[in-house]
Each structure stands twice: as structure tokens, then as C-alpha cells.
Symmetry: C2
DNA sequence: TCCATTATATTGGTATGCCAAATTTGAATT
DNA sequence: AATTCAAATTTGGCATACCAATATAATGGA
């Protein structure tokens, strides 16, 4: 474990808030009260409050007190980051296919050149898993960047980074290393690129969708565990 | 202003990291060094470090030091929340239309019922702006929830909440109050609902796209300032 | 020379104490 | 009884001091 103490305190405070049924706008117990309650110094409670403040759950006002800013859900209480890899891929499929379609309208020659460079890098770095992975990330994020929309890039980045935080993905990633799937995905990337160069929005959407469909399929084959429930959407194509 | 000092220190540290060109994995200067550099106590630097840690930018290891966890972009450096309302709406249009299409596959009768209730609420609460606004939020987020995908709901929620943090939106919102646009948007919502009920994915996508197109159009009319650059995408329909 | 062991220094972790802003209280005044 | 204003209290802000874990340097034996 060896987790920093302020986090532990912070989680305890969240539970305390839930238990005492505080509503948005309500005043929280003071730092000193929590300190005594948990048997720690006020410094630690203060750090925990900062954590909650950064998470936008509370608002701290000097001389007045701290106030509940948004309702605490059980999800926020524990770790949200550990969603299944299939759920993550599905989200990426839905969102990134649209981002690719959007990018097809706004992509510039410079963007296309950058993508080309990344594609070349991917094909030349098939041996180094780390390099190939970085290039993979670049490819997807460059497309999001080509939309010229900060929030779309931000969304794509957030989803990608979640992948690396996901514990189950780590395990699956080990097996992907051994396989030769990066070669297959390279073809996928090439097709997405071709559609973008033609500025074909629907083609780009389709290609990106199919690419992530293939990734899901691969992951499915590699995982010996039972597949989580996809509600019949795993292999469904929204284009149909 | 009256912002809490640790935030200020945290931003300064981010700039300092960028200026010194630290890479992911590199070791940061110690808390004591920053404390002396900024002329504050180590406590404040420590609080700033906690802020960066919560933001997943750094990792703090007792007895060893703190390390850069992910590359700091200029966006994370300053306030990311203050993107233009049009950029935000464009992102919502791209993403939420796909989310609606996805939801059309997985939506349950219970979801549809909840949506119906929200629609009724919207039409009955046309006078109370606050209530109508809450219902509006519920409508959009219920659809995201109907995808059964945590991350899609999370994404939609994030985008919506950004709206309220956006300073320019606040001003525009004042004028929307006076207008009767909520009535028009109610029709849009009804159409989205109809497509979802028919489980028509492409219809839902189209309807949601058009709805947010209308919102953009309204905002465009209401804002007397020159429109930001949309790169010809503002009125483009990816379905074309 | 190399490796294991111990001592020292470095670095983050926690507690205590005092300061400043905000709030509350209550006495004085009308 | 209502209002005003100042003193006291409450509450978060910040700094200093010491503790504990880690890393590094020094030491000594093989």
C-alpha cells in the first residue's frame, strides 16, 4: 500500500459526508473537528481538504468554513479510473470515430505530414514496443489535434491516458507485446490516414471505428477470462 | 482575486517545470528548493505538490523525491476551463451526437421513461430558468447514461459542467433567459427522444447534431461579438 | 579490489503554534 | 425594541520544528 496519509483521510471524510447526509451548500465540520475525530493533526486534514477542493467537491473559505460544492457519489468515493479495458475501448470507439470524422474537415497539410511521419515511425519501430506504443498514441492524438478543438484533444488524451492507468490493461499489454498485432493495426492506421487525406469524413469515421473494433477483437481473443457484458454492442456498428 | 496561495504556487511550479524542460520521469527540485525560490514556507510548496499530485502530473515518494508523471501542456498550465462557448458546443456536438447513436442501441424502457419524465418537466418548467436548466442537463446526461458506459457518461458530464464554469457562457446565459429559446430546444429534445424510442441510431445522431447546431445558431445570434473561427465547420454536417 | 555494513545526509511526513479573516456575540445607543 | 459597533470567538492560512523513510557516502573486512 504505502499510500500517502492525506488520501486516506480524504476518503474517510468523503464517507463521513455521505454518512451525515450533507447536501450541496451545507457547511462541513471544521478541520479541527475532523483532526480530533481521526486522531491526526490539522495539517493532514487540511491536506485532505485541498484534495477534495481540487476534486471540486468542496469549497474552502477562510474564516468561515468549508462547504459541500457537489454531491459526492459512490463512484467519486472510490477510484473511477479502474473501468474495464473493453468499456474503455468502446468509449474510444464511439468518440474517436466521430473525432476522426470531424478532423477530416479541418485537417491541414501540416497535420497530414505529421501523421505520415508517425506512420513511418510505426512501421520502422515494430521491434521496440515502447516506441511503437508512443507512435500509436501520437497517431491518435494528432488526429484529435487536427480538429483544432481543444476539448476534443483533451477528451482523446484523457481516454488514452486512462489506458495506462488501468490495471487490467497492463496484464493484457504484456501478451500483446508477444503477438504481432501492431503490424495489423498499422494497416488500420494507414486506412484511416487515407480517408483523412481524401477528406472523407464518413470514410474516416468508418475506418477509425473498424480499427478500434479490431483492437477490441484482439483483446477479446487474448483475454481468457470471460468477456464482460457489452449489451450486444461490442460488435455492432452504428453505421449499419 | 483572493485565491488560495497554494494554487498560485502550484501554477508557478508548473511554469518552472516547463521552463526547465523536465521530461516524464525526471526528478523535480525538492520542496525546500521551491520554498526558498518562491520565498514561502515548505508547507505551501507541499500543498502545491499535493495539488499537482491530484492532477496526476507528479508522483511523490517519501525519502526519495518527486517525479514528473505526465508531460505538462500549456493547457493544463493555465485554466483549461476557459475555452470559448462555441468551441465547447462544437465538441459537444461531435461527441454527444455519437453518444446518442450509441445510446439508441442500449437504451432500456426504464431509461426512456426517465427521459419522458424529464421532457415533461422541461415543458412544465418553462418559467423557472433554473429548473429548466437542470432538466436540460438531466436530458443530456440521461442519454449518456443509457449507453451503459461509465466513460461516456463521464465525458458528457465533464463537458456539461465546463459550460457553467465558462465565463463567457455566463454572460450569454443571461440573454438566453430573456429569450424563449428553451421552447425551441424542447422540440429538438422531443425529436431526439423519438429517434431513441425507435432505436434508430442514425436518426438519434442526426437529431442530436441538429439540436446542438440550433443551440450554436442561437448563441451566434445572441452574441454581438464577432464569431471566433470555426474553420468552416460551424455549419457543416458530418453526415452530408 | 569488491562487497557488505554502517554512518551520514537528503527528502518527504507529521505535529504544534501563532496569524488573519470572518463570524458571532453582546453591550451601548437611539 | 431595533441598530450599531466593537470585542471575543471561530475558522482557515501559514510557518517552524522535529520525525521517518530513503538514498548516498564512508568504512571495514574478505
Amino acid at each position: 500500500m504505502a499510500e500517502r496519509l492525506y488520501r486516506e483521510i480524504g476518503e474517510k471524510i468523503k464517507l463521513e459526508i455521505i454518512k451525515s447526509k450533507l447536501k450541496v451548500g451545507d457547511k462541513l465540520p471544521t478541520e479541527r473537528i475532523y483532526a480530533e475525530l481521526f486522531g491526526v493533526s490539522r495539517t493532514l486534514v487540511r491536506e485532505a481538504f485541498i484534495m477534495l477542493e481540487i476534486e471540486k467537491l468542496i469549497e474552502v473559505k477562510k474564516g468561515s468554513g468549508s462547504y459541500l460544492k457537489s454531491q459526492i457519489s459512490n463512484q467519486q468515493s472510490s477510484k473511477i479510473s479502474d473501468v474495464g479495458p473493453f468499456e474503455l475501448l468502446q468509449a474510444r470507439q464511439v468518440l474517436e470515430s466521430s473525432i476522426a470524422a470531424c478532423a477530416a474537415h479541418s485537417i491541414t497539410k501540416a497535420d497530414l505530414n505529421a501523421l505520415q511521419v508517425t506512420l513511418d515511425l510505426e512501421s520502422s519501430e515494430l521491434n521496440s514496443v515502447e516506441k511503437a506504443n508512443a507512435a500509436d498514441r501520437d497517431f491518435h492524438l494528432l488526429i484529435a489535434k487536427a480538429t483544432q478543438n481543444t476539448l476534443l484533444l483533451d477528451t482523446a488524451t484523457r481516454l488514452w491516458d486512462m489506458r495506462d492507468e488501468n490495471s487490467m490493461w497492463q496484464q493484457l499489454h504484456e501478451r500483446i507485446k508477444d503477438s504481432s498485432y501492431h503490424g495489423k493495426w498499422l494497416d488500420d492506421h494507414q486506412q484511416v490516414f487515407d480517408q483523412l487525406r481524401k477528406r472523407n469524413a464518413e470514410g474516416a469515421r468508418q475506418a477509425m471505428w473498424q480499427h478500434l473494433e479490431n483492437v477490441k477483437q484482439t483483446l477479446f481473443e487474448l483475454s481468457d477470462t470471460d468477456a464482460p457484458n457489452f449489451d450486444g454492442y461490442l460488435f455492432a456498428n452504428p453505421q449499419h
